[in-house]
């Protein structure tokens, strides 16, 4: 029977399903009899769901505009064009 400390160490891998079937079986057996670890696993999992559900990416329009402007301004000096005779092409 594995102990609570080992569950704590494996929580993350367990949630990611990144453990061997044998260890998984042992973890689940432990969870069946240990309320403390069950709460720990469930609330950690819930934490990740909350983050995933609420991670909405927005970019302020001015930030996006300033980025494009800067790239436009720098294109000529930064981008090294491929040789025109096509020597670099694979075929």
């Amino acid at each position: 029977m594995i102990r609570c400390e080992e569950i704590l160490r494996e929580i993350s891998n367990y949630i990611d399903q990144d453990i061997t079937p044998e260890l998984r079986r042992q973890v689940e057996q432990h969870l069946g009899g240990c309320r403390r670890c069950t709460v720990l696993v469930n609330t950690t999992r819930k934490t990740l769901t909350l983050v995933a559900d609420n991670y909405v990416l927005e970019l302020p329009r001015e930030v996006a505009e300033r980025l494009m402007n800067r790239l436009n301004a720098c294109w000529g000096t930064l981008f090294i064009p491929p040789p025109e005779n096509g020597l670099e092409r694979e075929r």
Partner: protein, 235 residues
């Protein structure tokens, strides 16, 4: 520690994710030929995540915007050297993280490294918040409030844990991609991720745990009716 495994296991890449990568590959090819619009498309596709990753690391909007620009300028400069060994997004994130770190060192030296690096051992971490949470924490607060709280939680993590958490659990990169972008081993990624997740949980717990009354009700439900004679309602 006999059971500890450390094999590299590729996580399944979702169809959407690989379709995105495929589109990127074509755009990269065109950008490499000098097609400005293709590069602009790549920018549109990835500017948000780059901005939020560096914002998450630097926690400062002005710095984040500066690093966002520097990252894409660098990507533009080196786009023709990009050979597609990794996905474009991973390559770009790697550039952005390096830029963010450089900026930290330049403008806020001493604030990070020493403080953070030594805490890389999660074995000492003991969760203290052990009460169960309410079934639907989402219902406890407004959407905006929730987002703010989660942001605070992420910002409360020491830098090395924050980076891993942002890439793995917010951006949903694989362990391997996260390790690659941060320049650390996969096992270090997993170790830090564990600690980061536990710390996140610890931060959020006081906001979501059951009230005293709900806990009591839950306990009664688990153990059946209390033995108090004649009392049908335990409260």
């Amino acid at each position: 520690m006999r059971n500890r495994i450390d094999i590299v296991r590729e996580e399944p890449i979702s169809i959407a994710k690989s379709a995105e990568a495929e589109g990127d590959a074509e755009l990269v090819r065109r950008a490499q030929q000098g097609e400005k619009e293709a590069f602009a498309m790549l920018v549109c596709r990835h500017e948000k995540r780059v901005y939020w990753i560096v914002q998450g690391i630097l926690q400062n909007q002005a710095d984040a915007e500066e690093v966002l620009q520097e990252s894409f300028l660098k990507a533009l400069k080196h786009i023709r050297g990009f050979r597609g060994e990794a996905r474009f997004s991973t390559w770009l994130i790697q550039i952005a993280i390096n830029e963010a770190r450089m900026r930290q060192r330049k403008y806020r030296p001493g604030l990070y490294d020493s403080l953070d690096e030594e805490r890389d051992d999660p074995s000492g971490f003991r969760p203290r918040e052990l009460a169960d949470w309410r079934a639907n924490p989402e219902e406890a607060m407004a959407k905006e409030e929730m987002r703010l709280l989660l942001q605070q939680a992420i910002h409360s993590l020491p830098k090395i844990y924050r980076e891993v958490f942002l890439l793995r659990d917010a951006e949903r990169l694989s362990n391997q991609e996260t390790a690659g972008a941060l320049g650390i081993s996969i096992s270090a990624t997993k170790t830090r991720l564990l600690r980061a997740r536990l710390m996140m949980r610890e931060f959020l717990a006081p906001h979501f745990k059951l009230s005293w009354r709900e806990r009591l009700l839950a306990r009664v439900k688990r153990r059946g009716r209390p033995r108090m004679g004649g009392h049908h309602d335990p409260l």
